[in-house]
């Protein structure tokens, strides 16, 4: 049951990304290109995506668990630290260079050809690099 709804959510997310134009790297780069031919489409996508979620968070706030019994995720501690700022900065630079973020990179994996696969493999490698760096840092932080 959990897997079925996870599959449906992933599928709806993917088709939404496809329909919205977010797998078109030219549109995403156009949104970031304020000095060039600026393309405001992404604002409509983000606005459209936030609307159902505003309702969902209100509904979620009124109940202790989700429909399948899992607790509604608690809001993480609202700490703005160097890790959050540096991570968002690196992500923003990578996003601009090619026009892909993780969701659209996966949604377009089937029709982006080999170049899309190269991006996804590099993205997975980047995630592993963070895991190794983070693990190393956490180990050094511990008393011997």
């Amino acid at each position: 049951m959990r897997a079925l709804f996870a599959f449906l959510a992933g599928g709806l997310f993917g088709v939404g990304l496809m329909l919205s134009g977010m797998t078109d790297t030219a549109k995403v780069q156009g949104w970031l290109d304020v000095l060039g031919a600026w393309d405001p489409t992404l604002a409509f996508v983000l606005g459209g995506a936030i609307l159902p979620m505003l309702v969902a968070w209100r509904v979620a706030g009124k109940r202790p668990t989700a429909a399948l019994g899992t607790p509604i995720p608690a809001k993480p501690a609202q700490i703005i630290d160097a890790r959050l700022l540096a991570g968002a900065t690196l992500f923003g630079i990578g996003w601009a260079l090619v026009g892909l973020c993780p969701g659209p990179a996966l949604a377009a994996l089937s029709y982006n050809g080999g170049h899309g696969a190269v991006f996804v493999v590099a993205m997975v490698a980047g995630m592993l690099i963070w895991h190794i760096l983070h693990l190393g840092g956490a180990m050094r932080g511990r008393p011997a």
Partner: protein, 142 residues
């Protein structure tokens, strides 16, 4: 007259939001693409791997079927291998370091009025705009 692209953007956006709402209210999970994939990649999501794999299968597989039976949209993806590798590494590293991407911080975080989500979104947007200005209009590499 409103450009068709904006209407498709809004409709697609509503679908993205509906997917996130369903994942939250049915599965009790935050729909963040980098978090769901990252938990598989580094093993931190081993407690709910089936759910993660099912989500990723839907995210990759359903658009694949739509592209096959209907049509694949234009992607205008660069063919420069160096750009693809550098950008992919930055996106993977940055989203895990910053604990989220456009879907997690942007869609799920902003709608929850999460300070972290809002700040992260403003920072990656600003970094993206500056990187675009430098790389396209300064260096001319993209």
């Amino acid at each position: 007259m409103i450009p068709a692209d904006w209407i498709f953007g809004l409709l697609g956006g509503l679908m993205i939001g509906a997917a996130a709402a369903m994942f939250l209210l049915v599965n009790g999970r935050i729909m963040g693409a980098s978090g769901i994939l990252g938990g598989v990649v580094d093993g931190s999501g081993r407690g709910n791997l089936d759910e993660r794999f099912a989500f990723l299968a839907g995210l990759v597989g359903v658009p694949a079927v739509v592209a096959l039976v209907w049509q694949a949209p234009q992607t205008n993806l660069t063919t420069d291998p160096l750009l693809l590798v550098v950008a992919g590494l930055l996106v993977g590293l940055g989203t895990r370091m910053g604990s989220g991407c456009t879907s997690g911080h942007g869609v799920c975080g902003i709608s929850r009025f999460s300070k972290r989500g809002i700040v992260a979104t403003l920072v990656y947007l600003a970094a993206g705009v500056i990187a675009m200005a430098v790389a396209r209009h300064g260096l001319g590499v993209i």
